[in-house]
């Protein structure tokens, strides 16, 4: 298990000391996290890393996962897409099933002094507030800058019963009756997905997947999901390939609550079958070393999302000092300052142009990567995330003054 002190080598001892000082303020309080999946996707990943570190700091933090059948997750997928702006309709029966599953789960969850609910799937657990009181926080990890109005109206009635809402990007703030806080997610520099790797490991993994490292490699690591636009990535690659020699790697898996994953995967595979330089890799959960190596060994990393909560894969690639081209959506512009720490694009053509630019100008690409790594180090590592969560929990017990002395 990684020890919190090990991060001092990366972020400095004073930062770790500050975390211990903050954690002391939460002595005697329990914190219950609830989300909908134990593996796959950024939320489960960050909770898996955060919980042990919070405990080492002395914070009594717990994590429960709600249970639901395929019908429930099909509904929550619709809600997810609706929040991303896709026009969505749920039948009265679907709304009822969504609430029934939440109520059923509420019976088996032990709520702490602070209840921290992640994403829309368990949002209606807040109905239990009438029984448990306590301090309820809702953390939204997904992009809902333009949510479907019907879906939003349904969720809003529950969100307004929380004490606070937490969003990953400023554009997600709504006209809510409750306090709204900005907390960006983070990456863990000591995890298998992000730690330093020997060159021999990178080399072996590229060889295992049959990718030729003597030629430029452009990689997108993402779930196979329409909103990550893997088909748009293939089009951009095809345009760029008219002028530069390049290979494309599309690698990812699917979260357990994502029924669309296999359909998109199939469409991508059909396109890839026409070109031996397109490598489609379906990576099972736990392929962290492979992802790490693919990012480290790529010439350019893409994240051509059409909608994005935050886009942790961007932070991952930047942490490895890779040049990144990404869609200017969700939390991505927070991570990339255009032409300083990466390139932001809005179209297939723009992405193709950026690919050619970075392949043809490796010094410029290297500079973008170095600047990007520094930005991630200062703002998007797990230690900053822990600090933000501790402040969020502490703020529940403080008044609203601008400056609070602890």
């Amino acid at each position: 298990m990684v020890r919190i002190e090990e991060y001092a080598d990366i972020v400095g001892q004073p930062t770790i000391d500050e975390l211990f000082l903050l954690a002391r303020e939460l002595e005697g309080r329990t914190i219950q996290n609830v989300n909908s999946t134990a593996v796959g996707g950024g939320v489960a990943e960050i909770l898996t890393r955060l919980l042990p570190l919070l405990k080492q700091l002395g914070v009594d933090a717990h994590w429960d996962v709600i249970r639901g059948d395929d019908r429930f997750f099909a509904i929550t997928k619709k809600i997810h897409n609706g929040l991303h702006g896709v026009p969505t309709q749920l039948s009265p029966q679907e709304y009822e099933l969504f609430l029934d599953v939440n109520r059923m789960n509420a019976e088996s969850i032990s709520f702490g002094d602070i209840v921290f609910i992640h994403d829309p799937q368990p949002v209606a657990l807040v109905e239990r507030r009438t029984v448990h009181g306590k301090n309820w926080l809702w953390r939204c990890h997904i992009d809902f800058s333009r949510p479907d109005p019907t879906i939003w109206k349904f969720l809003e009635q529950y969100i307004n019963h929380y004490d606070g809402a937490v969003f990953s990007a400023p554009a997600f703030a709504r006209a809510l009756a409750i306090k709204q806080v900005l907390i960006s997610p983070s990456i863990d520099p000591l995890s298998d997905k992000n730690r330093e790797l020997p060159e021999s490991v990178v080399k072996n993994i590229f060889r295992k997947f049959g990718i030729d490292r003597s030629r430029p490699v452009v990689t997108q690591i993402s779930r196979f999901d329409y909103l990550k636009d893997p088909l748009g990535v293939i089009k951009a690659y095809q345009l760029a390939k008219k002028n530069v020699d390049v290979q494309l790697v599309l690698a990812g898996g699917g979260a357990t609550d994502d029924p669309e994953g296999p359909i998109v995967m199939h469409q991508v595979q059909e396109e890839a079958d026409k070109d031996k330089d397109i490598h489609v890799l379906f990576l099972p959960a736990g392929s962290d070393i492979e992802i790490n190596a693919l990012q480290r060994g790529s010439t350019v990393v893409l994240q051509k999302s059409l909608r994005e909560g935050f886009g942790l894969t961007v932070a991952e690639a930047l942490w490895k000092a890779r040049p990144v081209i990404a869609g200017a959506v969700g939390g991505i512009p927070l991570q990339i300052t255009h032409r300083y720490s990466g390139l932001l694009t809005r179209s297939v053509q723009g992405t193709a142009h950026a690919i050619k630019q970075l392949i043809n100008e490796p010094e410029y690409a290297q500079k973008l990567g170095i600047n990007g790594r520094e930005h991630i180090k200062n703002n998007y590592l797990i230690t900053r995330h822990i600090k933000d969560y501790l402040l969020l929990f502490i703020s529940l017990f403080e008044n609203g003054r601008d400056i609070v002395y602890l």
Partner: protein
Amino acid sequence: MNPFYFYTKLDQTILLGVTASTIPGLLEGIQRVPEASIYYHTHRYLQQHHYLSPEPPNDFAYWVGQILNDAELGEQLSSIDIIRLDSIQSIRLEFVELLRAYISSSEKLRESPPGQEFHFMSCQTFAIQTPHTAETIPEFLEQLRNVSVSSLYYHVFDAKLRLGHGENDFSRWFRDGGKIELADAVARLDPYTYTLEGLRTKIISLAEKHGKD
């Protein structure tokens, strides 16, 4: 000398749900948001991009210059000399006056592309006393080398503008301890033109030079 207690500060970023897509909208927002929001948008860059400084832009200047593509107004907004202003309200008024003058003299006002509106934010600051204290200049030097940049930030920027101390905490402590020359030298620094690490190095060198006086 009386003990100097090093504090550190940690900020929680608050989303206000107030947005602007035009210059008049930005002006309206600047006029109505709380002071903590003005402080946030004029100082956030110093902390989040402390390796990029010196002279980071404030958020208003960045948005006008980069999103509205109004380079001239962006430059004017980034040139507001915050170091000579001693309250957040006076910083707010500088922006208000500049934007009002611009609006009255402009025929056509630009609008931001959808999705790139200016989002007003604010911050709640949590100040914590650290174990670092100093009663002499050598002790001060040793501690200053070890505190986080957030601690430095708190004693330099927050102390002057948000706590209303009139000058940075280090100068106040030097002055109270009779180190007038050192106090004046540190007070004369323009901290907005340094990176935070650069500022730390500069204060250390000044204390080494004048501390024995």
